[in-house]
């Protein structure tokens, strides 16, 4: 086996990727781990090797838990390339990656995609203004730089991360001027039947209640049932205020310098899509995810998916899924030989732990299902941030006869900018579905093609001289 060939290539060094890498190395596999970020950890354990904040209370023990994963991975003897942007994977087991402006080619027997999640694009009028950023972005700034946004700060949206970043800012002594909760009232009713099941995951419920109480104690103005969110700009085009309707239907405006928004997370499916793997629309989580068996095996025999890119389950579930995918790879390798079955006990334990981790999901998914106004925003809202295409333009194309996102893309360029549809894909599918009175599953998604990240011709041209180095 030469230096460019691996038993297992893993893409993404978050909890799924790190745990898969150390498990696989222990099983004697030759492992390549590629990650786009400069340091391992993924987004949840971002920068875990050199956390910026002096005060460990701010991010809390769930973040520093990642140190354990990092230690196991660092000593595992895995070939790890950071700052490595995978731009193409082919169905005949070859991948292409750009590292420091140079392209490289690797061959693999098995591939584990562990590319994690991204925040759900949650368009509303003014969400492109400088000063508006996602809650996840604010958290990354805490983890990597110890930076907090300038006040007045308003946090708006729905989901566990919204509560978590609020608590972290409170612990850091930062004043939050208001939390605007957009969780629709009907979600409480649809989530209620799942609450009993959620109690089996009582640790999560307790954690959620602690966060709510921490926010209450801080005396922050917290409004539920907020609708009609929009961001206003000053004369220089930056964020100046947020306008919304309170739960009595009165329009309110709050002046702010930072608006942190969040509507949950969705699988990062760019790579799985570019490979033509089968995907399904998850009506509860309101997102697409690859079709997988319980080990994470995709519709391609050599490609597995683990962690949030397989469907949202959180960091601890991701860690277990990474492990389980490797056990499956090893089982396939050893099938029929005398060594098979060695991992059965550990495998069974991981499956049980995974079920325990996922027991809270039906409740959370229903409670934090995004409000309709973020799936099908008002006409004037920009949905494609790159090409600046509005919801109204997509609607009018649907009325002109467009039947899917690839048709609207050809007419108006939504999805053709540098983000390649990451920030508009789910919205455009949802908008078309609602206009055409169909489901997103019927309407479909963009055809994603390589390169899945923008690539200069210079980077592409280096491919010929990259085969010999690793």
């Amino acid at each position: 086996m030469n230096s460019n060939q691996f038993d297992l290539a893993i893409i993404g060094a978050g909890p799924a990727g790190m745990s898969a890498a150390s498990t696989a190395a222990k099983q004697g596999l030759k492992v390549l781990l590629l990650d786009e970020q400069p340091r391992p950890g993924g987004q949840i354990y971002r920068n875990i090797g050199s956390p910026a904040l002096k005060d460990r209370q701010i991010l809390g023990p769930d973040y520093y838990y990642g140190e354990k994963l990092l230690t196991a991975f660092s000593g595992a003897g895995v070939t790890y390339l950071h700052g490595a942007t995978v731009w193409e994977v082919t169905t005949d087991n070859i991948l292409y990656v750009s590292v420091k402006g140079e392209s490289r080619r690797f061959e693999f027997n098995k591939l584990l995609i562990a590319t994690g999640a991204q925040e759900r694009p949650s368009p509303f009028p003014g969400w492109t203004l400088p000063g508006v950023m996602t809650c996840g972005a604010a958290q990354i700034l805490l983890k990597t730089s110890g930076l907090t946004p300038p006040g007045p700060i308003v946090i708006a949206g729905s989901g566990p991360l919204l509560l978590l970043i609020s608590c972290q800012l409170i612990r850091a002594g930062i004043k939050i001027d208001a939390i605007l909760d957009t969780t629709p009232g009907k979600n409480y009713r649809s989530a209620l039947p799942e609450f009993l099941g959620a109690l089996k995951g009582w640790r999560f419920v307790l954690k959620g209640m602690r966060m709510l109480s921490e926010i209450r104690k801080a005396g922050i103005q917290q409004l539920s049932g907020v609708t009609g969110l929009s961001a206003d700009q000053d004369e220089s085009g930056n964020l100046s205020a947020v306008t919304y309707y309170d739960n009595k239907g009165h329009q309110q405006t709050l002046s702010c310098s930072s608006l942190l928004v969040h509507q949950g997370v969705i699988p990062n499916s760019q790579l799985t899509r570019s490979l033509g793997l089968a995907h399904v629309w998850d009506e509860v989580q309101k997102c697409w995810k690859p079709e997988l068996n319980k080990w994470g095996q995709s519709s391609h025999p050599d490609i597995l998916v683990a962690g949030d890119s397989a469907g949202i389950g959180g960091a601890l579930a991701a860690e277990l899924q990474g492990k389980l995918a490797v056990f499956e790879i090893v089982r396939q390798r050893d099938a029929g030989s005398a060594t098979s079955g060695n991992n059965e006990i550990e495998q069974e334990k991981a499956i049980q732990e995974l079920q325990q981790q996922l027991v809270i999901r039906p409740f959370l998914d229903r409670l934090y299902s995004p409000a309709e106004e973020f799936m099908s925003p008002p006409d004037e809202t920009i949905v494609c941030r790159c090409e600046e295409v509005t919801a109204g333009e997509i609607r009018s194309l649907a009325n002109d006869g467009c039947r899917g996102p690839n048709q609207t893309k050809a007419f108006c360029r939504a999805g053709m900018g540098p983000c390649q549809g990451r920030q508009c894909g789910t919205t455009v599918s949802s908008l078309l579905a609602s206009e055409l009175k169909a489901s997103p599953a019927q309407v479909g998604y963009y055809n994603i093609r390589a390169p899945i990240k923008p690539l200069t011709l210079g980077e592409l041209a280096t491919i010929g001289n990259a085969d010999s180095n690793c």
Binding site: A52, L129, P130, A137, I140, L239
Partner: protein, 106 residues
């Protein structure tokens, strides 16, 4: 009316410091942090203008997904500031509209 757009630094662990120049303003950044973080700390808002309507944008996702943090870094246009680490002596400028096709770095 909010005026100060600078992000604030909490007490941080012992880290090296680097000096970078953003839009002519020299600022101190933490070794290993992203250009986007340094730009937010410097309060440069917007950090790019769009090719379509020339409207202002700033880092939005901080994880390489949205491409709203594109800047001109050491002369290289359309570079993702959130995916680029600061380096001593780095020169960072606002990306104004579409990049020019120069011919030497396609």
């Amino acid at each position: 009316m909010p005026t100060d757009s600078r992000f604030n630094r909490l007490p941080v662990s012992e880290k090296g410091l680097v000096s970078i120049c953003i839009e002519g303003q020299t600022i101190t950044a933490l070794e290993g942090e992203s250009v986007a973080a340094a730009v937010l700390q410097a309060g440069v808002r917007p950090s790019r203008t769009t090719p379509v309507t020339d409207s202002g944008r700033a880092p939005f996702c901080m994880m390489g997904v949205c491409f709203d943090c594109l800047m001109e870094i050491d002369g290289k246009p359309n570079t993702q500031a959130c995916m680029t680490e600061v380096r001593d002596g780095m020169v960072v400028n606002i990306q104004r509209g579409a990049r020019q096709v120069l011919g030497d770095d396609l």
